[in-house]
């Protein structure tokens, strides 16, 4: 599939269902055979205008497993942005030094803009509160790997569904595969109506809950997110709900044997550490899958596979 070659990835909706499946298939190959020197002689820019642990390191690890080199910065403080350089100028300059640019930037829409001014492809590693498509792809990879298929799964999303960009992209992507959605959140952090509209338009079902235990026996995937205190206008309201969305090991008892717990990480306290030893906990493996998926993207976009 050559159409991915040279194309930026800004938003998960930039890819068709077939293109998503193609990337996941490629990622599976990289999981089997991770060290391949196909990026030998290639230079990849990694521009992180704001901090990140997993995304930056897993991208850089993906480049290096493939034999490529990485240049870039891990915070805006160490780049010319601090001197007031525009994003356009930074991108045009860096594109002279590399074959592809991986970028995280706090401005919403910055990745789309960068992809329009850059002569080399851009991979969006998060643009503010907007999109984080590689997280979405690794979520899909993890779901497919643990459930055997992406088709018709029952996915429960828990926590902050209003502001969590990962859950929004994941809903958007899963509508392509016919999922049933179970949204569990406090009243004030419910899934936005725009997201529910995508589900309805796709002819699929969603259900809303406030009690996490309601979905325990039906879910194939439990997708946990963090509830942040600063999202609540009233601190009292946060105090009331904060403990309702903490997953403890004992709560997993009624769940299916094949059910897996996913979390985009970092977690703070929403999954207690006793869950980590339960075979249903999959979030660290999920983070590992990020490397395979990013290897696949690099290979596909550079046209090396």
């Amino acid at each position: 599939m050559n159409e991915l070659k040279g194309r930026s990835l800004v938003s998960i909706t930039d890819y068709t269902k077939e293109e998503i499946i193609h990337i996941l298939d490629m990622a599976e190959e990289f999981e089997k055979n991770q060290r391949q020197q196909i990026l030998n002689g290639y230079v990849i820019s990694s521009l992180f205008f704001e901090p990140s642990t997993r995304t930056r390191l897993s991208f850089e690890s993906a480049v290096q497993y493939l034999g490529g080199s990485v240049i870039g910065f891990a915070s805006a403080d160490t780049s010319s942005v601090r001197k007031g350089e525009s994003l356009k100028d930074t991108i045009l300059t860096v594109s002279n030094y590399s074959d592809l640019i991986i970028m995280r930037n706090p401005m919403d829409g910055s990745a789309r803009y960068a992809s329009e001014v850059s002569p080399v492809p851009i991979i969006n590693a998060g643009d503010g509160a907007n999109q984080h498509p590689t997280q979405c792809l690794l979520d899909l990879y993890s779901i497919r790997k643990t459930q055997g298929s992406l088709d018709n799964i029952h996915i429960a999303m828990i926590g902050d569904l209003k502001y969590g960009r990962t859950v929004h992209s994941l809903v958007q992507a899963l509508t392509l595969f016919g999922a049933t959605f179970h949204f569990v959140s406090p009243e004030s952090l419910k899934m936005p109506s725009s997201v529910k509209t995508w589900v309805k338009k796709a002819g699929l079902e969603y259900h809303q809950y406030t009690d996490i235990m309601d979905i325990m026996p039906i879910a194939d995937i439990l997708y946990m997110t963090r509830i942040q205190a600063e999202r609540f206008p009233d601190p009292l309201e946060y105090e009331k709900v904060k403990n309702l969305y903490i997953l403890e090991n004992s709560m997993l008892a009624p769940s299916k044997d094949t059910m897996r717990v996913l979390h985009p990480l970092p977690r703070v306290n929403e999954i207690t550490e006793d869950v980590d030893d339960n075979p249903k906990a999959y979030y660290f493996q999920q983070a590992k899958n990020g490397v395979y998926v990013r290897q696949a993207l690099l290979a596909a976009i550079l046209g090396l596979k």
Binding site: S11, S86, L87, K88, P106, M107, D108, G109, S110, R112, Y113, D127, G128, A129, N130, Q131, S193, S194, T197, K200, K201
Partner: protein, 155 residues
């Protein structure tokens, strides 16, 4: 006869453009977005006029002015049911219903303060979409946020 009298409530122009069927409450907004306060030639306008379609309507007649597509897009966003009539030597030379454009560029600000277009010097671009209730909204090409008509802020 009645029709004739109604027309004459706002004087005729020799050359220029008439914007008719503006919802009454939008009349002043149309004047503002087109920056007509600074226009040097003759402008006649009326608002609160009886209209069989709108109940009350506004009408603006601008001498020696023909609008560019960008300006017509602005009118469409404020008064989507308006009619645009071009006049040459007192004759109607063109009459069209204003319709929503598929895309809106340059003229509207994104309502999201964190959008890259509000932080850097970048031309805005929106796709005109409708939500599940059929209401027209603008989706920002960059930050992907969707804003309703009430949030539209013109440059």
């Amino acid at each position: 006869m009645d029709n004739k009298r109604k027309e004459l409530k706002v004087s005729a122009i020799r050359n220029g453009t008439v914007i008719d069927h503006i919802p009454s409450e939008k009349s002043f907004q149309v004047i503002n977005i087109l920056n007509l306060a600074n226009y040097k030639n003759q402008i006649y306008f009326g608002t609160g006029l009886d209209s069989s379609k709108l109940g009350k309507k506004g009408i603006i007649k601008i001498s020696d002015k023909y609008f560019e597509d960008e300006e017509i897009s602005k009118i469409a966003l404020v008064a989507p049911k308006a009619t645009l009539i071009e006049i040459t030597d007192y004759e109607v030379t063109k009459k069209e219903k204003i319709d929503f454009p598929e895309e809106v560029s340059k003229i509207v600000k994104c309502f999201n303060p964190k959008c890259v277009t509000n932080i850097q010097d970048i031309t805005t671009k929106f796709t005109v979409v409708s939500d599940h209730k059929g209401e027209v909204k603008l989706a920002c090409h960059y930050c992907e946020k969707t804003m309703s008509k009430e949030n539209i802020d013109f440059f």
